[in-house]
């Protein structure tokens, strides 16, 4: 054997083997691995697929989502951004809990406050889902997988939702970018006036039918109210809103086609079982024990329960405690509220500084009965949880005062049925946010009537709301079920002497009727008296025993506090295309 030849051959083999390896590409198909367990837009371009994306867009109405962890900072009930900001309630809980919320009540929030970024991401995630519905609907229409009528239904709902979500952003920041299905994310801008675009979107839904076949959809009625709100808030267009609201009052229907009206008594509105009752034009549909682990059960409001498990609901976390000033507003004189704020001269008595075992004499002065549905306070029965026993329901009285929230709280008998089980808290409930209720519509209508000079109709509408509140069947009762829990005195207005009086009455009525329901700060901004009204309330709250701890002596409200700063993170990401609004 010729060793050298052998060797040479084998080296050749080595070289050929080696170089062939380097350039082989047998793995071409083998390296194509398709993702498992997901869907893309092509599989969804049909009726069922679009329907599912639309459901995804509706599901953002609660403002929260598990993926990407958009939590209470995004809550659509706006308990933080509107009620706390509007001093109907303070942040509550104790000093160290949630500095982000703290800075909002200190009117010291900066653009880097992560809550604001959460809210921003919440509304724009919702917008992006609407845009997906529109995009895929167009694609399906082009492919002929759905009919034009079907496409119209999808697009009208999606555009109304998109308009609403933009409006939600507008009332937070005013200077916001408008994003539709054609927007190039790299070309965003927030310097353009986008109000017309929002209105154009929201007008789409006004031609939707009454009966959408599901209580959770937007119909024509819902769309009209939303549009009216936007017209009033953004443009002070009371004439336009008046037409829409009058039509709703006359002909409105709920999204399942059923009639609308005032519930017979005030308190029942907030009972979970009545969340889709006659009063409710649109309630955000929370669900519990559906596998979401609480994310569909009012995740955004989970903090807002009294702080005591066992004898009181949920047990956590003691946020959202009503202010003394709000409580005082319910003082009546001759059955009517004190429109000159003199109620603060005769404040409602509280158990501040007392232990539950210390004796306490309740306030005996005349009060609007809606107080005890809006606020939990010592000595008053609290749903079916028994009597509110005072400081043991409160996380830290020295920090946040003696009151508890009540409207969103579930009944004891509902625990486990309308609340999430197997979670750290029962504070995930099916008590959906009453986004639009009939009394709100009446008061918005009254506001339009006042601004257009029809004081007579305005009086009638406001008195409708008061008359319902005055139904003694709806007063909070003591344990015997007969005796009123406090000295409730409420009457209708005999007349409105002038527009100024009517305005004051209207503004007070919204505070009393809709307090703790997410409207206050937006209302003030619409009325243009945010700075003076909040300064007045803040000055009073600071004198409370907890005032210094809660607000600090240095908290002041400035003219810039009619908006929130645009999240710095979004300005940074936009590479400077978005600009700060202040």
């Amino acid at each position: 054997m010729n060793i050298n030849n052998m060797k040479a051959n084998r080296y050749l083999f080595f070289i050929i083997f080696g170089s062939s390896l380097l350039f082989y590409s047998c793995g071409k198909d083998w390296l194509d691995v398709r993702p498992k367990g997901t869907v893309d837009q092509y599989t969804l371009a049909n009726k069922e697929g679009i329907e599912a994306i639309l459901v995804g867009a509706y599901s953002m109405l609660d403002g929260v989502t598990e993926v990407s962890y958009i939590d209470w900072g995004g809550a659509s009930s706006n308990w933080l951004y509107s009620e706390i900001r509007g001093l109907i309630a303070n942040k509550g809980t104790d000093a160290g809990d949630s500095w982000e919320g703290q800075s909002i009540i200190h009117y010291s929030e900066t653009a880097t406050n992560p809550m604001l970024n959460t809210k921003w991401r919440s509304v724009y995630e919702a917008v992006s889902r609407c845009n997906c519905v529109i995009m895929v609907t167009k694609q399906a229409l082009a492919e002929g997988t759905i009919s034009q009528d079907q496409a119209d239904l999808f697009i009208k709902q999606a555009r109304t939702l998109r308009g609403w979500y933009h409006f939600e952003a507008w009332r937070m920041w005013e200077m916001i970018p408008y994003v539709d299905e054609n927007t190039d994310q790299k070309m965003l801008s927030n310097t353009e006036d986008i109000r017309e675009k929002i209105i154009a979107d929201m007008q789409q839904g006004t031609s939707l039918p009454h009966n959408m076949g599901a209580i959770g959809r937007f119909n024509g009625t819902v769309s009209k109210v939303l549009l009216a709100k936007a017209l009033m808030q953004m443009n002070h267009d009371y004439t336009g809103a008046l037409t829409l609201l009058a039509d709703v009052k006359a002909n409105g229907r709920k999204p399942d086609g059923s009639p609308i009206g005032l519930a017979p008594t005030y308190g029942e509105i907030f009972d979970i079982v009545n969340r889709n009752g006659i009063e409710s034009l649109y309630t955000v549909q929370y669900s519990v024990n559906d596998g979401s682990g609480g994310w569909n059960g009012g995740y955004g409001e989970v903090l807002n329960f009294p702080y005591k498990s066992g004898g009181s609901p949920a047990g956590c976390c003691g946020f959202f405690q009503p202010t003394q000033e709000f409580v005082n507003s319910f003082r009546t004189s001759g059955g009517l509220p004190l429109l000159d704020f003199s109620y603060n001269d005769n404040p409602v008595k509280s158990d501040q500084g007392l232990k539950p075992s210390d004796p306490f004499t309740e306030d005996t002065g005349p009060l609007d009965p809606r107080l005890d549905w809006s606020v939990g306070r010592r000595g008053i029965p609290y749903w079916d949880w028994g009597v509110h026993t005072g400081s043991d329901w409160i996380r830290d009285q020295t920090y946040a005062g003696p009151y508890s929230p009540k409207k969103q709280v579930y009944k004891k008998s509902q625990e486990g049925i309308y609340t999430e089980t197997g979670s750290w808290t029962s504070g995930y409930t099916a008590n959906g946010y009453r986004m639009i209720r009939y009394a709100d519509v009446l008061l918005l209508l009254a506001e339009c009537q006042i601004e257009t000079g029809d004081l007579f109709s305005a009086l009638a509408n406001i008195n409708m709301v008061r008359a319902r509140a005055a139904n003694p069947d709806g007063f909070v009762k003591e344990a015997d079920g007969v005796t009123n829990a406090a000295n409730y005195v409420i009457l209708e207005y005999p007349s409105f002497p002038d527009a100024d009086f009517a305005r004051k009455a209207l503004q007070m009525e919204r505070k009393l009727e809709l307090g703790m329901e997410g409207h206050k700060w937006f209302d003030l901004n619409r009325w243009g008296n945010t700075l003076e009204e909040l300064t007045r309330v803040l000055d009073y709250e600071k004198t409370m025993p907890w005032g210094d701890n809660m607000y600090g002596s240095w908290t002041v409200i400035g003219p810039e506090d009619v908006t929130y700063p645009i999240p710095q993170a979004q300005i940074d990401i936009s590479n400077g295309r978005l600009v700060q609004n202040r």
């Binding site: 080696g18 995630e125 992006s128 005591k308």
Partner: protein
């Protein structure tokens, strides 16, 4: 010629590319160690220039290598008992930074030469030829060799994941004859004094409340302590005085048993190893138990022209762990958040806030108002004491090696791993807390995961006169991530990743003086779209053995001297999602379902845009340069290895946050960022022997300097490290990864005049923080936030000392980290009254600012929570985290052979050992060795400390 004499076994080593060298050499050349147990002096790098090391697909002699390779003596891996090989690498190889807590079963964080990626910086482990991400199932006693491939010259042959460095492990193989060894150790771990010296007892806490009342001028009736106007608080009869650190910890045991049997004849050999390891954690009920069985066998056919064999390891693990470095950890909820007044167990009836307590029940924050909201950590740990996780992990390979001719071999290896396991998670209804859980639930989840690799190589090893060629070529197919996770919410089928690679590397030596190396590898990966699929990773290296040059021949004190350099590229794709390239919709009940029909308890399926695809993502590449030298001096008594390196990582995958207006769909990874690292590695050793006294020492020094050079167009930074006061870390260009970012504290405001004169600052008042007005304007605002600390150490080092005197031996191992900052986030809980009503520090009571203690650094005790107290990230929390720790001190005695032979024992050694005996540090927390993820580390959220261990052990050979 030495080379020729050694050629025979070098060839044999080459034949078995994946079979480790150390063991083969043991059988073929019969290393004398077979007859006696390993002595501690062998723990040092002895004569490393003549050792063989397993490198990329081959075994080479250290002296021929032109890349930068550190290797760790296997004995070092058994020097201290630990559940996991990764923990044992600390301070043992230069260029390797290892951090780990004392939590049983935790895999330490191993980083080679800094950071090369935002996604994943774990090195690639190759165990007996099988690439893996997890070496926690490997029994340290089965390991025969560990090589750390640090630069491109050594590692780029592993192309696709080499940029984080490669650690090559081989396991032991059979020897001729029968050998039985047994090693055992058992000992006790001590929790130490914990937090007691720093935190308040019951009476002190009440006094602190009185101080807060005084400072805030608050008047009220405290629910527990009575009227604030009283001269002193009254303490209720139910009050406990709990040291929560003591309550959740206990002295605990650790034991380790290893039995190995190896043997064989000319054509068949085997190694069988059995290990049992159990470590109870110092936190009650925590433990980690591992049983291992390994069988490695080899067979020769046709006079050795065909060799075949297998390595298989089965390990069964069972552990009960606890969260660490987060809010769920018992270290945080116990000592740092629970007031001393809360009794662990109720001793007298109490009508509590949430519950009427009777003796024998758990105490908790529900006893009375203002006890905060921390869980009773002892109750939690006790309730979940059956929450075990178990898994069965199998890994192994089979191989066949054909000698085509002398010096030319073909080898095929098929390997894989399979891991199956489940976890149990009980949630119990509670009654004792202020925030209770209403219902009891049980959640189990299962997973399975497997991967496989098939490697074919041809190796050429030839010498022609003064030319020596050593080359390997091959191809490899890998598939990993074949698995499924089944939990309460989901059953997720994982999208696997496939890789197809080919490579060739060649080394050439002329006269044993001039060394050249080159390698190139081409990898294709299924994660990338077709156009970006392949990455090509070349490297070049060269060495010059100066000691063989005539001009140095005269210098007798130089035994060996080689300088070398390398340049090359390495790749990374590991952490990229296999779905990165595609645009997808997803569904999630909590994110996209809606109760459209108003049912209260069900929701309709909905979709949301879940991922925005990027078909353009491509390989991360890392360009590395290394220059170094190796020297053996004075008869090889002194050896030095020095390396300077620079790594530049480009096209780093990063997912720039999408604008909120794009929705929450997962942002795609794009190749935008870059980072650089540079540093030096030094390994110095000295050994000598004088009559009965043997001495050796080694210093292993590691430095790295990491800098982010770019992130994305228009993006200068991203934040990470969440806390109750926002993100603590900013990763920004021209700064190191995980730099701490917040306000700089100048001091405390001393009086009202100072507050008035200072730039406007929310909440400013005497006794509160005064922040530095860096952006010189009239207000303290986000523009004044700056970098306040860096958790990356300036350097770390290991110092090993070993001495023998007659049959006695002594070893000591010191590990130290210098120049790293720690963000002590536990101070947020304990140094501010208004950071929840939990436990507070002695500093807050005794050293905080008051009118009569104006020199204080701790702010005034107050119930105010605002910008000037505890709502901002600031430099108050930063501490120097440098430390020096005596990791091991061991004294052993080897019985004289004439004694042990009588009882049929060939060798017997017994030892006593103290692990973590002391730590020198200025850091105030429990343990300065703090891990965390790469984008936010060095943050102390309450750290499971490394415990002191006192161990007795013995090793014997039958």
């Amino acid at each position: 010629m030495q080379i020729l004499a050694n050629l025979k076994y070098i060839l044999l080593l080459v034949l078995t590319i994946i079979v480790p060298s150390g063991i083969l050499s043991a059988q073929e050349i019969s290393i004398n160690g077979a007859d006696s147990v390993k002595l501690p002096q062998q723990l040092t790098n002895k004569n490393f220039l003549s050792e063989e090391v397993t490198t990329g697909y081959t075994v080479q002699r250290m002296r021929d290598i032109t890349g930068s390779v550190s290797f760790v003596e296997p004995a070092m891996l058994t020097a201290v008992p630990a559940g996991n090989v990764s923990n044992l690498l600390q301070g043992r190889a230069s260029g390797v930074t290892v951090t780990g807590s004392g939590r049983p079963g935790e895999t330490s964080k191993v980083r080679i030469r800094g950071f090369s990626s935002f996604l994943n910086n774990d090195p690639l482990y190759v165990v007996d030829g099988v690439p893996t991400q997890d070496i926690s199932s490997i029994n340290p006693y089965d390991v025969a060799s560990v090589s750390v491939l640090k630069d491109a010259g050594a590692a780029s042959i592993y192309g696709y994941r080499a940029s984080n460095g490669v650690i090559v492990l081989t396991t032991r193989h059979g020897e001729k004859g029968i050998n039985v060894t047994y090693d055992m150790s058992m000992g006790i771990q001590q929790p130490g004094k914990g937090t007691k010296p720093d935190l308040l007892d019951t009476k002190e806490y009440a006094n602190l409340q009185w101080l807060v009342y005084k400072n805030d001028q608050t008047v009220e009736t405290h629910p527990t302590y009575g009227y604030s106007g009283n001269p002193t608080p009254s303490i209720p009869t139910w009050a406990g005085n709990t040291d929560w650190y003591d309550a959740i910890t206990d002295a605990s045991g650790i034991q380790n048993h290893n039995l190995s049997i190896s043997g064989g004849g000319e054509n068949a050999k085997f190694y069988a190893g059995f290990g049992a390891f159990r470590q109870n954690g110092i936190i009650i009920y925590t433990d980690n138990t591992r049983y291992n069985g390994r069988l490695n066998s080899q067979f020769r056919f046709f006079n050795g022209r065909l060799r075949a064999g297998e390595n298989i390891n089965v390990s069964s693990r069972s552990y009960l762990s606890v969260p660490n470095l987060n809010e769920g950890s018992p270290i945080l909820t116990g000592p740092y958040r629970s007031q001393s007044i809360i009794p662990v167990i109720i001793t007298q009836p109490i009508s509590g806030m949430t519950h009427d307590f009777v003796p024998g029940e758990w105490g908790g924050t529900g006893i009375a108002y203002r006890l905060g909201n921390a869980d009773n950590a002892v109750a939690d740990l006790t309730r979940r004491k059956d929450d075990r996780s178990r898994d069965t992990y199998m890994t192994g390979s089979i191989y066949m090696d054909i000698m085509i001719m002398d010096g030319l071999n073909f080898r095929s290896t098929m390997g894989g791993t399979s891991d199956k396991g489940f976890t149990t998670n009980n949630t119990y209804a509670t009654y004792e807390r202020s925030e209770n859980i209403g219902t009891t639930s049980l959640e189990k989840s299962r997973f399975r995961n497997s991967d496989w690799v098939w490697t074919n190589t041809v190796t050429l090893d030839k010498q022609f006169g003064q030319h020596k060629i050593f080359a390997v070529a091959g191809f490899e197919a890998v598939s990993y991530g074949l698995g499924q996770i089944i939990s309460k919410q989901d059953s997720i089928k994982c999208t696997p990743t496939r890789l197809a690679s080919s490579f060739i590397s060649a080394n050439y030596a002329f006269k044993d003086k001039y060394l050249l190396g080159a390698a190139i590898r081409r990898d294709g990966c299924s994660k990338f779209s077709v156009s970006q699929r392949y990455g090509i990773f070349p490297s070049f290296s060269a060495g010059w053995r100066l000691s063989n040059e005539s001009f140095l021949q005269g210098l007798k004190w130089i035994s060996d001297l080689k300088i070398r350099g390398s340049w090359g590229k390495m790749g990374n794709q590991f952490a990229l999602s296999p779905q990165n390239a595609v645009y997808l919709f997803g569904e999630s009940i909590g994110a996209s379902y809606y109760d459209l029909y108003g049912t209260f308890n069900s929701s309709v399926r909905g979709y949301y845009p879940s991922r925005i695809g990027n078909p353009d993502a491509k390989w991360e590449t890392n360009t590395a340069t290394d220059i170094g030298f190796e020297a053996a001096l004075f008869d090889s008594k002194v050896s030095i290895v020095f390396d300077w390196y620079s790594k530049k990582a480009d096209d780093l995958l990063y997912n720039p946050p999408l604008p909120g207006t794009a929705g929450i769909g997962e942002a795609p990874y794009v190749n935008v960022a870059s980072m650089k690292n540079s540093g030096i590695d030094i390994e110095l050793s000295y050994q000598n022997k004088w009559r009965n006294l043997g001495f050796s020492t080694a210093v292993i020094l590691t430095t790295y300097n990491n800098q982010i050079t770019s992130i994305a167009d228009g993006i200068r930074y991203f934040d990470s490290g969440n806390s109750r006061i926002g993100t603590l870390v900013r990763n920004e260009t021209r700064h190191s990864l995980s730099s701490f970012y917040g306000y700089q504290v100048m001091g405390l405001f001393q009086n009202d005049a100072e507050v008035t004169d200072a730039p406007y600052q929310y909440g400013a008042e005497p006794g509160f923080f005064r922040f530095d007005n860096l952006y010189d304007d009239d207000e303290i605002d986000p523009g004044d936030i700056t970098f306040i600390g860096n958790p990356n150490p300036k350097f770390t080092y290991g110092l090993n000392l070993a001495m023998t005197w007659k049959n006695l031996d002594l070893t000591a191992f010191i590990y130290a980290s210098k120049g790293n900052d720690i963000f002590n986030s536990t101070k947020w809980w304990t140094d501010f009254w208004s950071s929840y009503q939990g436990q507070k520090s002695k500093n807050l009571l005794y050293s905080s600012w008051t009118e009569s203690n104006k020199d204080a650094t701790v702010p005034k005790a107050s119930n105010q929570s605002n910008f000037s107290t505890n709502t901002q990230v600031c430099s108050y929390y930063i501490e120097d985290g440098s430390y020096l720790r005596l990791k091991n001190l061991e004294v052993g005695y080897t019985f004289p052979k004439n004694m042990t032979y009588k009882i049929k024992i060939r060798s017997l050694r017994m030892y006593l050992q103290a692990v973590n005996l002391f730590t020198l540090t200025k850091y105030s927390g429990l343990d300065p060795e703090i891990g965390g993820n790469d984008l936010a580390f060095g943050i102390d959220y309450g750290n499971y400390p490394n415990a002191k261990q006192f161990i007795f052990g013995l090793s014997l050979i039958l």
